[in-house]
């Protein structure tokens, strides 16, 4: 019995330690999104949904996460979040981040933003257009 309790306490301790390490890791990475050279030309995204995501990101997200990096909010292009989780976060908001309901953003628009963020995280820039 004592052995089980000790094991349980040990497991709890390990989980707590892991949570602390993960927390610190996320915290430390929150301000260090990779910086790339500014674009030398006007670019468009390779798909309509990505372009739409880019426009929506600028309108709804970039003020707190300028360029996807940390500002008032955490950096959001330096974490391996799957699109589903990004969409969940946009819809529900977490912590101080407000939720964006379906009156503000349709399901398709939320998906477009999530797709664009994953695209940004992969360091892609888009396709050059004449200007």
């Amino acid at each position: 019995m004592e052995s089980n309790e000790a094991g349980s306490i040990r497991r709890t301790g390990i989980i707590f330690l892991l949570l602390c390490i993960l927390f610190l890791g996320v915290r430390m990475s929150s301000c260090s999104a990779p910086k790339t050279a500014p674009l030398a030309q006007v670019v468009e995204m390779p798909t309509e949904s990505l372009q739409q995501g880019r426009v929506l990101f600028n309108e709804y997200c970039a003020s707190c996460h300028p360029g996807g990096m940390a500002g008032v909010g955490l950096a959001i292009i330096n974490k391996p979040l799957p699109e589903d989780v990004i969409e969940f976060q946009i819809r529900n908001g977490i912590g101080v981040m407000p939720a964006f309901n379906d009156k503000m953003l349709s399901d398709e628009e939320v998906e477009n933003i999530a797709e664009y963020l994953v695209y940004l995280r992969k360091g892609k820039k888009g396709e050059k257009v004449e200007h």
Binding site: F23, V26, Q41, N58, A75, V85, I94, G95
Partner: protein, 494 residues
């Protein structure tokens, strides 16, 4: 067995997502205990400014050089018919530094010749050259804002004075269009209520009755905000202040605040040779930068709300507006198309609405910038050889955290460009580093606080006016004299 494995894997997948969301929740929930890490929050005291163009990152094919250095609080550049640059030194900076503002001609070797010295009533926030005259927006922190008209011999006349610039924000702009000088007038306060933040700025002790003035009659809610009364010696004295009211004065239920001209938070205009002042549009917070686009429309940058004072507002990005005559742009209850009354301030309630009725729904902004980025001066590219023809270039002074609110990393401190059709904002000139920040924060020699940008008359060079070092200390902003720089960006293959 197979079913068990599938279930087990599914459970693991769900657990991973739950764990990940849990971590996110944990991180986000700790926002309130995270410390601010703004670009002016240095761990050391910079005694001088390093300047090295090689530390500035530009798009491929562009180069940057230093045109002038050792300026004290420069805020804007303009050009005469020959393309000679002229710079203004503001003569005032947050941190309550008062100096003589100056209009200076920049010589080819970077030295300066004084054209005109103003009275101590800065900050001079903008200058534009038109028809052999310089038009200057005099901020008017001590005596009220003015629009000055100065010729090359240094003879000045006042086109308008008595503008309500004694508070947080000043007289801005100007631009010339169709025979009129258009200029911006910032608000007295952050969000309509005089409070302790205004005492920290310094002006409340000078002008106890100063407050915001609406441009047209407005019906306000009888909100009251209690603070320590800093204007009396009694330590337990409480001041109760209402919106659009002097400090320690309240409004009655159903009270209409009378509109007046001049007013705060507005774009106004006056003929270039002087004449009657006219209201163009109202409901701005701090309309700082102004530029006439190639299509003749006027665009305006707006510094949005801070998390300070009796009515703090959280999470509102700076805005780029297209000016539409006679429109109301939403201050003090909206930021862009969004009501700030829906924005919860971390650890506090959402701001209550000040206005009981709105003149209209505000227009939709052209673009949104980073919260606290202090997106200021603006200029349009008109030369295809320079590139980005028709796009707006905007100087971002950078955050003044923690005074304006908390940031988790420096915001601004660069020049961005905006596609005004789509609202997409991209970096143009930014410091080389893994992280974003001013040169002193990065301990490099790049951009510090870009405050305005101006293309030269031929459009083949972009001049960046860099205000210089301003750190944020326990006592507030601490600007450094003789740390301002003018940079020049050109494209090499044009």
């Amino acid at each position: 067995m197979t079913t068990f494995l599938v279930n087990s894997n599914l459970m693991k997948g769900h657990l991973n997502i739950i764990l990940f969301l849990g971590i996110l929740f944990l991180v986000s929930g700790c926002y309130r205990i995270m410390s601010s890490d703004g670009g002016g929050q240095l761990s050391y005291d910079p005694d001088r400014r390093n300047i090295d163009p090689a530390d500035v990152l530009l798009p491929e094919g562009y180069e940057i050089e230093v045109v002038a250095r050792d300026l004290t609080f420069p805020t804007a550049v303009t050009f005469d018919e020959q393309g000679t640059p002229y710079v203004i030194e503001a003569g005032y900076s947050y941190g309550e530094v008062f100096l003589e503002p100056k209009l200076l001609r920049v010589e080819p070797d970077g030295s300066r010749t004084t054209i005109f010295t103003g009275e101590i009533n800065g900050p001079w926030n903008g200058v534009t050259y038109y028809n052999e005259h310089f038009f200057i927006s005099e901020g008017g922190e001590l005596k009220g804002g003015k629009i000055l008209k100065v010729n090359k011999e240094g003879e000045a006349e006042v086109l308008v004075d008595g503008l309500p610039s004694l508070g947080d924000h000043h007289t801005n702009g100007p631009v010339i269009k169709e025979g009129y000088v258009y200029f911006g007038q910032g608000t007295a306060t952050n969000s309509g209520v005089v409070g302790l933040d205004n005492a920290e700025f310094g002006w409340l002790y000078r002008y106890e009755d100063f407050h915001d003035i609406p441009c047209k009659d407005i019906l306000v809610n009888p909100l009251t905000f209690e603070t320590e009364n800093v204007l009396t010696d009694a330590s337990d004295d409480i001041a109760v202040t209402g919106p659009f009211s002097p400090y320690n004065k309240t409004v009655e239920p159903n009270q209409v605040i009378e509109g007046a001209l001049p007013c705060t938070g507005a774009i106004m205009r006056i003929p270039v040779d002087g004449g009657d002042l006219e209201l163009v549009a109202w409901g701005f917070r701090n309309p700082y930068g102004m530029a006439v686009a190639p299509d003749g429309e006027i665009y305006i940058t707006q510094n949005s709300y801070d998390v300070r004072g009796s009515r703090p507002v959280w999470g509102t990005g700076d805005l780029l507006w297209k000016l539409e005559k006679n429109r109301w742009y939403g201050w003090p209850d909206y930021n862009g198309s969004h009501k700030i009354t829906n924005l919860e301030v971390p650890g506090k309630d959402s701001p209550a609405p000040v206005m009981a009725q709105y003149p209209e729904e505000p227009p939709h902004p052209v673009a949104t910038f980073g919260v606290h980025s202090s997106s200021n001066g603006i200029s349009f590219s008109t030369n295809k050889n320079f590139g980005f023809n028709g796009q707006a270039f905007v100087a971002q002074f950078g955050d003044m955290a923690p005074g304006v609110g908390k940031v988790l990393a420096p915001v601004g401190f660069k020049v961005v460009r905006v596609d005004v059709d789509s609202g997409i904002v991209e970096e143009f000139a930014v410091n080389k580093a893994v992280k974003n920040g001013p040169a002193t924060w990065l301990k490099s020699g790049g951009l510090e606080r870009p405050v305005s940008v101006s293309f030269n008359p031929s459009g083949d060079a972009l001049y960046i006016v860099d205000f210089g070092i301003m750190t944020m200390t326990d006592k507030g902003p601490n600007p450094m004299k003789k740390s301002g720089v003018i940079w020049k960006v050109t494209k090499q293959d044009q």
